[in-house]
């Protein structure tokens, strides 16, 4: 249980300045902290700085309560899953796993027992005697994971540790990692590209973009109240649909992409006439129209693309200059070119200031409540 | 446009026999063929055999109409994205991308133009002058992808080419790859762990398990009619819920895990009294009960775990000895320990013979039809 604190941390490489710029964040002891962001935004770099593998160009890094900028990596007492695994090619899986334990002067037998235990958890038992090059990609990744887990260090850094595993195994590993982390009170910093991992594993998520923090918060809050269009489109898959809009004070309507008009029902928002705003709607809020729906809240679209994912169907249509997507649960027989009526309510809009990107209106909480007697809206 | 045909192909390594055993499959010219399976099931091995990097222990491989078992890799005229990228560390990104073009004696200018084009498509333009070690993980993967794409070979093998990319970029790449493949008529063999990729990109999917083919077919067919419980749980996330069941001929009811009873409405199924069967239900078919639902088709469960994914909520409950999951669209305020009524209909059951694993009853097609005037069930 150790705190990790970054104060004004920046990082530049020879060929690229400010890969990370002025990051301020405190990761609480025992927290599961998820780091997401587009490829190349500096996630790995940040982990590597915390691990002590990369010099901190500017700012202060504190581990526990100690300034750690100059602390050598070997004395930070943390473990890490490298994005590219970094397995020792000359050691067997077993030796790779127990490599760090040896340093801690653990007894050989104990090491073996530990390795066995972890290997079992990760389904590596049969492969303990092999060299990494005799393993499949996913197996290698699991070895990397095992190596990080087995040490039970107070801080653990994982860089996309499940990217090469299949969905089933990944689901299993997700819960195992979470369980372990809780049990041992590990402070976890976890990089992922997987939406499910990001949403379900973390106590908090941090979204990074071009080396700058976009938002930090609980997963569900970030999903519901993205701080800016970038976050809005980054979290959630398919991403939130965005379109420029203008407010017509007379009719009290939003003119979205000059294509549809949505009436504004509340006055909680200070909108100037003609102010440039961007509205966002999550694909799942573009719902099919049922017979008893309000005619006003619906509009018709022409389908430009359809993907059936099995348990849900995603289709696209044009909204002004951007392509919007709607996600409907279940399998829908939709063909490209179909004209579909789609329901959309003002409540589900997130509204951003186009200039600053600031969130001006949150989408109204769409939580459902289930009760024994049935389901309320 | 070339056919790839595997006839009775098997593969053994020194340390592991029958990593691949008796594979028979024909991949049609211009087909997008997706290969999925759990970690270590032999996907990469199969690709590597097709590429000519791994000797074929037994059987025949045909490329086009030619037996290719002994054709050297360099003369198979295909391209490949390696699971571990295999970038040339001594070459810049640009050189890495054009490496294959150079082999083909393409003019330097043309090469440069090509590289630029592909780099743009993959967002690598700024990095053309860098060495691989100066790139982030996702950027490296994109270089690997670029290298495979740029050659426009008639056959292309991709081994988890998008695993290290973020969701947004991945969605973009999905459609780009698909577009290119269609445009150039490439025969694509594509390994992935991503459900969305598997469901949306492939003309056909093949599910591999322990070196054996489990099922080959259209994505949606596999999703709806999995050939056996393995496929059922492997495709779809969360996986299909399974439980043992017995059939009570008197009441015409299925006794699922000795916990719930579901009445069988049709007679399309030959079930003997007491025959061991396994029933499967997709999580999305365990729906919330609405006030006007039939009381018979619902049962109550105690929630053991909840995950809110943003646009959907997954919760688990105990069904006999196995954990079942239900997936409800939207965000639900469900707490662990809640008692929830859940709707379940016989139609959505897939029924497998416990002994052979054969699919005995398909789930009834749950397709929805949307029309201009509204939505029919």
């Amino acid at each position: 249980m150790k705190k990790v604190e970054l104060i004004n941390v920046s990082k530049s490489y020879d060929k690229q300045v400010n890969v990370i710029s002025s990051i301020n964040v405190t990761i609480e002891p025992g927290e599961f902290f998820v780091l997401v962001g587009p490829s190349g935004c500096g996630k790995s770099t940040m982990l590597r700085m915390i691990a002590g593998l990369e010099e901190i160009t500017e700012g202060t890094l504190k581990i526990g309560d100690r300034v750690a900028n100059d602390l050598p990596a070997s004395r930070r007492d943390l473990s890490m899953v490298f994005q590219n695994y970094a397995l020792y090619p000359h050691l067997t899986v077993q030796q790779n796993i127990t490599f760090g334990l040896d340093v801690k002067r653990m007894k050989k037998e104990e090491q073996r027992a530990k390795a066995k235990e972890v290997a079992e958890m990760l389904g590596l038992t049969e492969y303990l005697g092999r060299k990494p090059r005799e393993l499949s990609g996913g197996q290698r990744q699991r070895v990397a994971l095992a190596r990080a887990i087995v040490g039970e260090t107070p801080i653990c850094l994982m860089d996309e540790p499940l990217s090469n595993l299949d969905a089933k195994l990944r689901a299993h590993m997700r819960s195992e990692i979470r369980r372990l982390q809780r049990k041992l009170g590990i402070t976890m910093i976890y990089v992922t590209h997987d939406q499910v991992e990001a949403m379900t594993m973390g106590d908090r998520i941090m979204i990074l973009h071009e080396g700058k923090i976009q938002q930090v918060g609980k997963p569900i809050d970030i999903y519901n109240y993205p701080a800016n269009p970038f976050v809005a489109t980054f979290i959630g898959s398919p991403p939130m649909n965005l379109a420029p809009a203008t407010f017509d004070k007379k009719t009290n309507e939003l003119n979205v992409a000059n294509q549809i008009k949505v009436s504004v029902q509340t006055d909680d928002l200070e909108l100037g006439e003609g102010q440039n705003i961007t509205v966002g709607v999550r694909p799942e809020h573009l719902q099919p129209v049922t017979s008893n729906d309000d005619i006003k809240e619906q509009f018709e679209v022409e389908v430009t693309n359809v993907e059936i994912l099995g348990n849900e169907t995603v289709f696209s249509f044009q909204m002004g200059e951007s392509e919007w997507m709607a996600k409907w649960s279940g399998q829908w027989h939709i063909e490209i070119g179909d004209q579909l009526p789609v329901k959309l309510s003002y409540d589900s809009f997130s509204i951003f200031d186009s200039a600053s990107g600031q969130l001006m209106k949150k989408a109204v909480d769409h939580g459902h409540y289930a009760s024994q007697s049935g389901v309320s809206p | 446009m070339k056919k790839v045909e595997l006839i009775n192909v098997s593969k053994s390594y020194d340390k592991q026999v029958n990593v691949i055993s008796s594979i028979n499959v024909t991949i049609e010219p211009g087909e997008f063929f997706v290969l999925v399976g759990p970690s270590g099931c032999g996907k990469s091995t199969m690709l590597r055999m097709i590429a000519g990097l791994e000797e074929i222990t037994e059987g025949t491989l045909k490329i086009g109409d030619r037996v290719a078992n002994d054709l050297p890799a360099s003369r198979r005229d295909l391209s490949m994205v390696f699971q571990n990228y295999a970038l040339y560390p001594h070459l810049t990104v640009q050189q890495n991308i054009t490496f294959g073009l150079d082999v083909k004696r393409m003019k330097k200018e043309e090469q440069r133009a090509k590289a630029k084009e592909v780099a743009e498509m993959l967002g690598l333009t700024e990095y053309l002058g860098r060495k691989p070690r100066e790139l982030s993980g996702g950027q490296r993967q994109r270089v690997a992808l670029a290298r495979a794409i740029v050659g426009e070979t008639p056959i292309c093998l991709m081994d988890e080419p998008l695993s290290n990319l973020d969701a947004k970029l991945r969605a973009h790449m999905r459609s780009e790859i698909r577009r290119l493949q269609r445009k150039l008529g490439i025969t694509m063999i594509y390994v992935t762990h991503d459900q969305v990729e598997a469901m949306t990109m492939g003309d056909r999917i093949m599910i591999l398990h322990e070196g054996k083919i489990q099922q080959v077919g259209k994505p949606i067919d596999i999703y709806n009619y999995p050939a056996n419980p393995f496929v059922a749980t492997f495709i779809g996330s969360p996986p299909m819920n399974l439980a043992p069941a017995t059939f009570d001929k008197k009441t015409n009811e299925l006794n699922v895990a000795n916990q719930i009873k579901v009445s069988v409405q049709t007679d399309d199924l030959e079930l003997g009294e007491g025959q061991n069967i396994t029933v499967g239900v997709r999580p999305e078919h365990l729906q919330p009960v609405t006030s006007n639902d039939d009381i018979k088709e619902q049962f109550e469960v105690e929630v053991t775990n909840v995950e809110i994914l943003g646009n959907e909520t997954v919760f688990s409950f105990q069904m006999g000895e196995s954990e079942w999951m239900a997936k409800w669209s939207g965000q639900w305020h469900i707490e662990i320990g809640d008692q929830l009524p859940v709707k379940l209909s016989y139609d959505s059951f897939s029924i497998f013979d416990s002994a052979s694993g054969q699919l005995m009853k398909k789930a009834v097609d749950h397709g929805h039809y949307a029309s201009q005037s509204g939505v029919s069930p």
């Binding site: - | 990097l53 360099s74 490949m80 295999a86 040339y88 560390p89 070459l91 150079d102 082999v103």
Partner: protein, 298 residues
């Protein structure tokens, strides 16, 4: 104070490094640097018969050498010798290493054959070559005789002697270069070849674009070492030609040896050694400056 502390902390690397370097440094100081300084010192003296400095003559030894046609001739022979042996030796060794790097049955046997010359001392192999070069009974002249070609006075003809010594030297060094290059080849990641094959790259293309660049650290090493070794060749000269005929094979180190061990002229011997040292130093610096830039490290 704190800045000093910071420095102390930062210099931890340097201080630990000293520990690792210490054994080498001590041994080098005692057995290389000290004698070297002594050599430099002696090069400014005329020495007596016992090899002690007797008369300080300043740069006279150097001046004498610069004016001496014999020494100039030595330099020329040395440079020629280096040019004859180094490129060919490395190319041949590389060729063998590439051959022996193929995965074939019984390749271990061939590897041993190729590296065998490393197992034979310069003295022993020189004796063998002496036999083969022998104008009356040697293999080479017999072969020439078989094809009715004119006999060659391999070691006796000033035109041929340096070439002949070079041939035998290339042979002697080939085992070693082979072994080093083979080691380098085996460290190249197989994946790179796989990837290149997929791209349709043929053997020579792979050789040029992957093998050689990835081998560059090893090549750089072997070129440097071969250059240095070639400049210092001695043993085979002593046995094969003793610097003759007509001084045509009187390489510098042999000349140093003769000055020091036969003529007991340590002053001029030392001066020659110093000049040789400077020459090699310059060549090596050039090699590092020009060569290491082209070397790719991981």
């Amino acid at each position: 104070m704190t800045s000093w502390k910071r420095f102390w902390k930062r210099s931890i690397d340097g201080r630990t490094a000293i520990l690792y370097l210490l054994p080498s440094v001590i041994l080098f100081s005692v057995f290389v640097f000290y004698p070297m300084f002594r050599t430099i010192y002696l090069s400014f003296f005329l020495t007596d018969q016992a090899g002690n400095a007797a008369i300080n003559v300043g740069f006279e030894n150097y001046e004498y050498l610069m004016g001496s046609s014999e020494f100039r001739n030595s330099m020329k022979a040395t440079v020629l010798f280096v040019l004859y042996t180094v490129p060919i030796g490395i190319i041949l060794a590389l060729f063998f290493a590439l051959l022996a790097n193929e995965k074939l049955k019984g390749i271990g046997f061939f590897r041993t054959m190729y590296s065998s010359t490393m197992g034979i001392s310069v003295a022993a192999s020189s004796v063998i070559w002496l036999f083969m070069f022998n104008p009356s009974i040697g293999m080479f002249n017999r072969l020439l005789g078989v094809f009715n070609l004119p006999q060659i006075q391999w070691l006796l003809d000033p035109e041929w002697a340096l070439l002949s010594v070079s041939i035998s030297t290339i042979w002697m060094n080939i085992g070693f270069s082979f072994l080093i290059l083979l080691g380098g080849l085996q460290n190249i990641d197989e994946h790179l070849y796989e990837s290149a094959k997929i791209d349709g790259a043929g053997y020579f293309y792979r050789l040029r674009r992957i093998t050689l660049p990835m081998l560059s650290p090893t090549l750089f090493f072997i070129i440097t070492i071969s250059l240095i070794n070639a400049f210092q060749t001695f043993g085979q000269i002593d046995i094969l030609t003793k610097g003759g005929p007509s001084q045509s094979t009187n390489l510098i180190v042999y000349s140093i040896y003769r000055e020091a061990f036969i003529n007991y002229q340590f002053g001029t011997a030392s001066a020659q050694a110093v000049i040789l040292f400077i020459i090699i130093l310059i060549v090596t610096i050039l090699q590092f400056k020009l060569g290491e830039r082209k070397v790719h490290y991981q």
